[in-house]
Amino acid sequence: MEKKDELLKIFSLRLRTMLSKIEFDYEKLQEIRLRVNAPMLVIYDNEEYFLTTLSKLTKTDTDSYIISKNEIRETMEYISNYSLYAFEEEIKQGFITITGGHRVGITGKAVIEDNRIKSIKHISFINIRLSHQIKGCADKVIPYITNKDNNCFHTLIISPPRCGKTTLLRDVIRQLSDGSEKRPGLTIGVVDERSEIGACYMGIPQNELGIRTDVLDCCPKAKGMLMLIRSMSPRIIAVDEVGSGEDIDAIEYVMNCGCKLIATVHGNSIDDIRSKPILGKLVRERLFERYILLNNQGEVGHLEEIYDERGTRIY
């Protein structure tokens, strides 16, 4: 109920009323898409539905509810907490993370200055991707990324978008941090650049990340990783969606100073990552000791394969 209210709060009053009449299982709700002068679309349990004027979900677009410009404006006002200025950096990247860790993608007219995106105005398309915390989704993975001395391997989670890599990372962090009867917990530092892992609200994680986890929220990954090493002396550093040159330099630093690293990256296979100019270097140098590949064949977050540093399949 709480999750439902929290999510509905970001919609314009009209949409809020309509959506509240539908009985959703919010764990199965994946995406809600709003486009100006177009029907509202809901991705629910891997299927696409239209919202009708009578607050029903249907498969056909007849009698579907058309979103107006004003509704998008009102929704944006709530998403940004009446303060678009506070999300300047996020808007430049094209998305805002809201309470609950849900990601709101936005597009409209880009404002360019010196060949760089300065902002987005006339926001007309909104995509709300729901974040889900699935406790226990890392059960299969944990034995492969920890060794007998209760240490963790440098791990890279590889998956295409919408396959659950952040969800897996979140549960890996939780399980390693809490520990179990056989395995003592480890101190983990999380750099949560987009507030997706911990979904922090005023600095407090809303998702469970374990009792030995310190979260640095909204901080650029490269700077955050170095900061955490100096300030919180973690055994493991966890980050989401690495990719830039700066990130890779910081990852090398983390790996060379005795910390273990768990990171995620977009891709389909190890070869994909190997062919990337900067990140590929770390793969070729065999710095990562475990590669976890996900796909969404069948269900979101389906564990496909696990490889060791030599590229030998171990799962």
Binding site: K9, I10, S12, L13, E74, E77, Y78, S80, N81, Y82, S83, L84, Y85, A86, E88, S119, M202
Partner: protein
């Protein structure tokens, strides 16, 4: 009969003097209210400039630090903003000013300026917020300067006008 006249005269003179005092103290209170408002705006500007804090959070934090009428005003705004009840920031801001600041010594013009500030808050980027707040601060500064420059003469004027007016009315009535 004479006693009644004397009592009447005393009452008229006292009430007129009281009115004079009331106006002069209102003037002093207005200056103090404007100073408090300036302090709030400076804190709000700091919060936005330093931490990029969204308005509901910044207003809430401000309300905790304030006392009296401004505390009620700010906490009501924060509460309404957090409700996300279908109203724009501008209308919440203006409605709360009308409802919660009518017991202050701020003039109609002061309240109007404060209302106009709400029209531009939350809009566009951080620089825009800072510039809007700076502009409003300079307006308040000018107003305070203007008022303090004349406060001595005006309080003297109100006080003596009160007493003199009372005596004048008494003489006419006698």
């Amino acid at each position: 009969m004479l006693w009644i006249k004397i009592i009447g005269c005393i009452l008229i003179i006292t009430s007129c003097t009281g009115m004079g005092w009331y106006f002069s103290s209102e003037l002093k209170n207005r200056i103090s209210d404007l100073r408090d408002l300036r302090k709030i705006i400076i804190l709000l500007r700091g919060d936005i400039r330093y931490a990029n804090t969204p308005l509901p959070e910044a207003v809430q934090a401000l309300s905790v630090r304030q006392e009296g009428k401004y505390k009620v005003f700010l906490s009501e705004i924060a509460e309404k903003l957090n409700e996300l009840g279908g109203k724009s920031f501008q209308s919440i801001w203006k409605e709360t000013i009308d409802k919660k600041l009518d017991n202050t010594s701020l003039s109609k013009k002061d309240l109007e300026h404060l209302g106009q500030l709400g029209e531009n808050l939350g809009y566009l980027d951080k620089d825009m917020q800072i510039n809007t707040l700076d502009l409003y601060l300079s307006q308040i500064e000018e107003e305070i300067k203007e008022l303090t420059r004349n406060v001595k003469e005006k309080t003297y004027l109100y006080n003596s006008l009160g007493v003199m007016g009372g005596i004048f009315i008494t003489i006419i009535m006698l």
